[in-house]
């Protein structure tokens, strides 16, 4: 698996080779630094710990600072990527070049918070009729059975907080990789606000 940490910059549009317009998300990817490694023998699984976007040393608590290998400045975003494919050792940097021949990627991030939302927006319920005397508009309807079980089953879809959770956009086409400028263009939208961290990996389903 390939993994990278990036920052969502915003969306734009690009003309494809056939002259058609394509919506793209611009992701900034500075070279990621390998901060640590997890091995099968020691940790029971293999992974690579990547860090990106420098943090001021004075902002980091000393015990946290000690986690970084020597000569590596502390990072704002540190993430483990399991079964990392490109060979790398601690202290090395992983750049966008690893995506050079990748056609599709998955991009994960924290989705925009939507606040307390009803059941139609949150769970795609159909809702009821708007007119003709209907008194059932955007409600959720029945939440369960009667005498048995006499309670609402856990996990029943209801209104509540929506968004602000991790979500992944799968199989996004890679439109352009510019390792020099640290810029990645993928087709379509990516979860999260501008300037939020996103995690790029090669597409699971392609």
């Amino acid at each position: 698996m390939i993994g990278l940490i990036g920052k969502k910059v915003g969306m734009s549009q690009v003309f494809g080779e056939d002259g058609r317009l394509m919506p793209v998300t611009v992701i900034e990817v500075e070279p990621n630094i390998v901060v640590g490694k997890r091995t099968q023998e020691k940790d029971g699984y293999s992974a690579v710990v990547l860090g990106a976007f420098d943090q001021k040393e004075s902002r980091v608590a000393k015990p946290v600072l000690g986690q970084y290998p020597e000569g590596v400045s502390p990072k704002r975003c540190v993430r483990e990527f399991r079964d990392f494919a490109p060979d790398c050792s601690v202290g090395e940097s992983v750049s966008l070049a690893v995506l050079e021949n990748v056609g599709f990627v998955d991009v994960a991030g924290t989705s925009k918070g939507k606040g307390f939302q009803g059941v139609m927006k949150r769970h795609n319920f159909g809702g009821g009729r708007a007119t003709h005397g209907s008194k059932f508009h955007r409600e959720n309807g029945s939440t369960g059975m009667a005498a048995w079980p006499s309670r609402v089953i856990k996990g029943t879809k209801m209104a509540g907080r929506m968004g602000g959770e991790r979500s992944t956009s799968q199989s996004l086409r890679v439109v352009r990789v510019d390792a020099e400028k640290g810029m990645l263009l993928v087709k379509g939208a990516v979860p999260g606000t501008r300037n939020s961290y996103v995690f790029i990996s090669n597409a699971k389903k392609k």
Binding site: Q13, F15, G19, V24, M183
Partner: protein, 124 residues
Amino acid sequence: MDLVRMVEAEQEKPEVENFRIGDTVKVHFNIVEGKTERVQVYEGLVIAKNHSGVRRSFTVRKISYGVGVERIFPLASPRIQKVEVVRRGRIRRAKLYYIRGRVGKRAKVAELIRKKSDIKKASE
């Protein structure tokens, strides 16, 4: 938004925009049919320009076999080869949507006739 601007700046084609609203233009548009490519010329009146930056687009209206046809072209489209100005128009609006409701002579835009001295001034 620096990177976004960079992506957009390299696509802009300022040389295409040599016309104004109210002008009659010929748009040379590349059409791909399977493997062959050909240039189609679409002639009509520019009734609107919209958006900014790379998203700039313009609307060209013409009457084709008695039916009004409007086509919106993205200015930065690589399929536009060139835009030829056939006739300059004298107009007092930024959007000429009022033309849609008019037929015949009333749907015309007066030609812009510029004094020689004005043209000189503009080119300076």
